[in-house]
C-alpha cells in the first residue's frame, strides 16, 4: 500500500501546495484586518480563530460571523477568500477523482491490493495463468476441492468473468502478463504455500515463458504447462522440471487407444471422471481407412497415431471441401476426424461426409463450450474438447499423482490385463466412477510397526481392506496398484511389474511425468479439505526443500498393477485404491487403530489396556 500512497501524494503535490498557500494568505489576511468586539472596541482575530473561520468557509459550511459580527473590511476579505478557496478545493478534489479514474493508477492500486492479498494467504493455493476455457475449468475444479486459486490473466474482459462465476471462494485475480517475472513473483509463486504454477494460456510460447520464469524464480514450486508444440516441449524437457500437458498428443493417444484397446480408454475415463458420475461406455472405433481433416497442428499427431495402429489414413489440412474429402479417400473411409478450429466448420464437414458415407464413424473436435448444442447435432462417436483432457490431468497430478502414473501404465498394458482392471473397478463401483485415493505408508515404518505389534507376519494388502467396525468383513475397495520405492521382498510372485517411471519416460512418449512430479507427492500438503486428505499415517511428509534434493529421488520405483491381496506391505508403499468415498475414512481408522488388525488376526476383540492384557495372559507389548 505504501507505493500507492506515494503515488497519490506525488500526483496531489500541486493542489496541496495551492491549498496551503490559499489557506495561509487567507488566515494572514484575517489576522491582519482589525475587527471590533460586541462593545465596539478594536479587536484582533487570533490565528486559531482565523483558521477555524477559513476552514468552514473554504469548505462551504459557513457557520457565520464568529465570535463577533465582521466589519466591512473583514467581509470584503472573506468574500475574496470564498471564491479562491472553494476553487482551490475543487482543484484538489478534481485531481483526486481524476487520479482514481486514471488507468495507470487503477492498475497500480489493483496490483498493490493483489500483492497484499497474496501475501496474506496462509493456506495452500495454486497459481493459474490464463483464464481461457481450460483455465476456467481448472480453476473451478480446484475451487471445488477447496484449494485457493491465484489467477493471472492478461485480458481484463476475461477477468471480469471471474466475478460472475459461482466460486465458493473467489480467486485472487490480477490483470497482468504472466510472462513477466514480476507478475509471477507478485502472484506469490515463491511462497511456501504455493503448490503449483499452472500455465494454461492459449499460446504455447507464452506457456513456455511462464514455465521457465516460474522455474527460475522458484525452483521448488511445481510447474505445469500446456504445450503442444513438440519443439517447445523438447526445449522445456532440456530445461527440466516442468510437467508438460499436451492435449493434442493426448487426443492422438486416445484415438489410437480407441482403435486398439477401447477398454483402456474406458478405464482411463472412468478413473479420471468425477467420482459418482456415470461410467463412460466403451465404444471402439472401427479399423480401416480414416480421413483426418482440419487444423494441421491437430491432425498431424493424430495421423501418426492412426498409422501406427497399422491402418491407413490421409490428412486434409486447412479449409476442407467435399473434393478434399473425396481426395483423401472418403469413399472408402470408415471414419472421419473433424478437427477444424471452428465448430461450425466441423459440424458442416461431418454432415457433408455423412451424405457421402452415412455409416461413417465420426470424431469431432469441439472448440467452444457454448457450441455444445451444435456439436450434439453431429451425433459424433467421440467428442474431443481440450479442456476436458487438461482438467483431469492437472487435477490428478496435483491430488493423486499415483493415479496419473497408473494411467500411464494402463496405456501400455495388454488388453486382457486392462480387462481385469476394468472388472475390478466395476466390482467395487458398479456403473459409476469410483472415488480414488492413495494410501501411503510412512517410509519410517512406524505405522506398520504399530499395526503388526509383536506379530511376525507383516501387514498384508487384504488387511487394509477390512472394516474397522467388523474386522472380519472386507470392504468393497479395489487396490489398483502398489508403488514401492525399491523392490522389497514379499512381492516377487507378482506378474504385474514395470520398471521405474524414469526408464519408461525415457523409452518414449511425451515427458508427461517429470521427475519433479514423482518427488512432490504428498497430497496432504496440497489440500486441507478432509475429503481429500490422504490416508497418511505418518507425519513424515517430505519437506518442501527436501523434496528437491537429488538424494531424495526414488531411484528405482516399481509399480505393480492388480497387486495380490497377500502382498506384504513395506514402509513407504503407496497403494492406489478405488471404491466409495467413505471407505477411505474407514481405512484411515484401520491405519490408526491397532486393535482392528489384531482383532482381524485373532478373531476376537483384543484386550486393550495393560491390566486386561495381563489378565488375558498375553505377553505385554
Amino acid at each position: 500500500m505504501g507505493d500507492i500512497l506515494f503515488l497519490v501524494l506525488r500526483r496531489l503535490r500541486a493542489p496541496l501546495i495551492a491549498l496551503i498557500l490559499i489557506y495561509a494568505i487567507s488566515i494572514a489576511g484575517l489576522v491582519a484586518i482589525p475587527g471590533v468586539d460586541a462593545q465596539g472596541q478594536p479587536w484582533r482575530m487570533s490565528y486559531f480563530h482565523a483558521f477555524y473561520i477559513i476552514s468552514y468557509t473554504a469548505t462551504t459550511i459557513g457557520f457565520g460571523e464568529i465570535p463577533f459580527p465582521f466589519t466591512d473590511a473583514q467581509r470584503i476579505w472573506i468574500t475574496a477568500v470564498i471564491y479562491v478557496s472553494v476553487t482551490g478545493w475543487a482543484y484538489a478534489l478534481g485531481t483526486v477523482f481524476n487520479l482514481s479514474r486514471d488507468p495507470a493508477f487503477r492498475a497500480a492500486a489493483a496490483r498493490s491490493l493483489f500483492v497484499q492479498r497474496v501475501r496474506r494467504l496462509r493456506e495452500p493455493y495454486c497459481v493459474v495463468c490464463g483464464y481461457g476455457r481450460s483455465g476456467r475449468e481448472v480453476t473451478e475444479a480446484l475451487d471445488r476441492l477447496g484449494v485457493r486459486v491465484v489467477l493471472l490473466e492478461v485480458d481484463p474482459q476475461r477477468v471480469a468473468l471471474v466475478e460472475v462465476q459461482p466460486f465458493s471462494r473467489l480467486p485472487i485475480v490480477l490483470v497482468a502478463d504472466a510472462r513477466r517475472p514480476e507478475s509471477l513473483r507478485d502472484a506469490g509463486i515463491a511462497k511456501p504455500e504455493c503448490r503449483a504454477v499452472i500455465a494454461l494460456t492459449d499460446d504455447d510460447e507464452t506457456n513456455q515463458i511462464i514455465a521457465i520464469g516460474a522455474r527460475v524464480l522458484d525452483p521448488v514450486t511445481r510447474v505445469m504447462a500446456r504445450i503442444s508444440d513438440a519443439r517447445i516441449q523438447d526445449s522445456l524437457a532440456e530445461f527440466g522440471g516442468v510437467q508438460v500437458i499436451d492435449p493434442i498428443h493426448r487426443f492422438a493417444q486416445v484415438l489410437q487407444a480407441s482403435m486398439i484397446s477401447p477398454i483402456a480408454v474406458q478405464v482411463e475415463q472412468t478413473l479420471s471422471a468425477a467420482p459418482g458420475s456415470p461410467r463412460p461406455t466403451s465404444s471402439s472405433l472401427p479399423r480401416g481407412h480414416w480421413v483426418l481433416a482440419g487444423d494441421a497442428r491437430f491432425i498431424q499427431p493424430a495421423l501418426k497415431a492412426v498409422l501406427a495402429t497399422g491402418q491407413t489414413a490421409s490428412a486434409s489440412p486447412g479449409e476442407v471441401g467435399e473434393d478434399d474429402l473425396r481426395r483423401a479417400g472418403l469413399d472408402r473411409a470408415v471414419g472421419l476426424v473433424a478437427a477444424a478450429s471452428s465448430d461450425a466448420d466441423n459440424v458442416g464437414m461431418v454432415s457433408m461426409a455423412r451424405r457421402i458415407r452415412p455409416e461413417l464413424a465420426v470424431v469431432i473436435r469441439q472448440n467452444k463450450a457454448f457450441n455444445q448444442p451444435l456439436i450434439d447435432t453431429a451425433r459424433a462417436d467421440r467428442v474431443f474438447r481440450q479442456s476436458a483432457v487438461i482438467t483431469p490431468e492437472v487435477l490428478s497430478s496435483l491430488t493423486t499423482p499415483l493415479l496419473a502414473r497408473f494411467l500411464d501404465l494402463v496405456r501400455d498394458l495388454p488388453a486382457e490385463e486392462v480387462q481385469r482392471i476394468a472388472a475390478l473397478i466395476e466390482s467395487v463401483s458398479g456403473d459409476r466412477s469410483p472415488w480414488i485415493w492413495t494410501c501411503e505408508l510412512d517410509p519410517a515404518g512406524a505405522t506398520l510397526k504399530m499395526l503388526q505389534g509383536e506379530a511376525k507376519s507383516g501387514l498384508r494388502l487384504s488387511e487394509l481392506q477390512c472394516d474397522p467396525r467388523e474386522p472380519t468383513r472386507s470392504l468393497p475397495m479395489a487396490p489398483l496398484a502398489v508403488l514401492r520405492a525399491s523392490d522389497g521382498p514379499g512381492g516377487t510372485d507378482q506378474p504385474g511389474r514395470v520398471a521405474g517411471a524414469h526408464e519408461r519416460a525415457a523409452a518414449g512418449g511425451v515427458a508427461s511425468e517429470s521427475a519433479l512430479a514423482l518427488r512432490l507427492a504428498p497430497l496432504g500438503r496440497l489440500i486441507r479439505a478432509p475429503l481429500q486428505v490422504r490416508a497418511r499415517t505418518g507425519l513424515t511428509a517430505l519437506g518442501r526443500t527436501g523434496t528437491l534434493s537429488d538424494e531424495g529421488l526414488p531411484a528405482a520405483q516399481t509399480m505393480r498393477w492388480l497387486p495380490s491381496l497377500d502382498l506384504e506391505l513395506a514402509p513407504g508403499d503407496q497403494v492406489l485404491f478405488a471404491g466409495a468415498q467413505d471407505l477411505q475414512f474407514l481405512q484411515r481408522r484401520v491405519l490408526t487403530d491397532p486393535t482392528v488388525i489384531e482383532h482381524l488376526r485373532s478373531g476376537a476383540e483384543p484386550p486393550r489396556s495393560a491390566v486386561f492384557r495381563w489378565w488375558a495372559g498375553r505377553p505385554r507389548h
Binding site: P468, T595, E605, R608, A610, V611, F612, A616
Partner: protein, 127 residues
C-alpha cells in the same frame, strides 16, 4: 459379550456415579457430603485410571487423559479435607467443604467426558 468391556464399563460408570453422589447437594451442608463417599469415589477412580493404562489407541489416550484429570481433582479434594480436619471428627469449616465439593464437581465433568467417550466408542464400532 466381552468380559473386558463389562469390567471397563462398570468401573468407568461407577467412578462417575460415585463422584456424582458425593457432589450432589448444597455445598455448605455437611450432612449432604459424606467423606466415605469421597473415599469410594477416589478408590474407584484410581482403579479406572489403572484400567486405562497401556491402551495404544487414540481413544484410549483420551480416556486416560480424562481419568488423570478426575483423579487429580478427587485426590486433591481428599487431601485437602484430611489436611484441614487434621484427623479429628470435628466438621471442617464450611469454606473448606465448599472447596472440596467444587473440586469433586470438576472431577465429575472429567468423569462425564469419560462416560461420553465410552458410549461414543461403543456406538461407533459394532464389533
Amino acid at each position: 459379550m466381552n468380559l473386558e468391556k463389562v469390567i471397563f464399563g462398570f468401573f468407568v460408570v461407577l467412578a462417575c456415579t460415585l463422584n456424582f453422589g458425593f457432589f450432589i447437594g448444597d455445598m455448605t451442608r455437611h450432612e449432604l457430603h459424606h467423606p466415605g463417599e469421597l473415599f469410594a469415589a477416589v478408590v474407584v477412580n484410581l482403579i479406572a485410571l489403572v484400567l486405562k493404562f497401556g491402551d495404544r489407541t487414540q481413544m484410549g489416550a483420551i480416556h486416560l487423559g480424562t481419568s488423570l484429570a478426575a483423579c487429580l481433582q478427587l485426590v486433591t479434594a481428599a487431601v485437602l479435607w484430611r489436611w484441614v480436619s487434621g484427623g479429628s471428627d470435628e466438621p471442617v469449616p464450611v469454606s473448606t467443604l465448599a472447596t472440596v465439593v467444587s473440586l469433586s464437581g470438576g472431577a465429575l465433568v472429567a468423569n462425564g467426558v469419560s462416560v461420553v467417550l465410552l458410549i461414543g466408542e461403543t456406538l461407533r464400532q459394532s464389533r
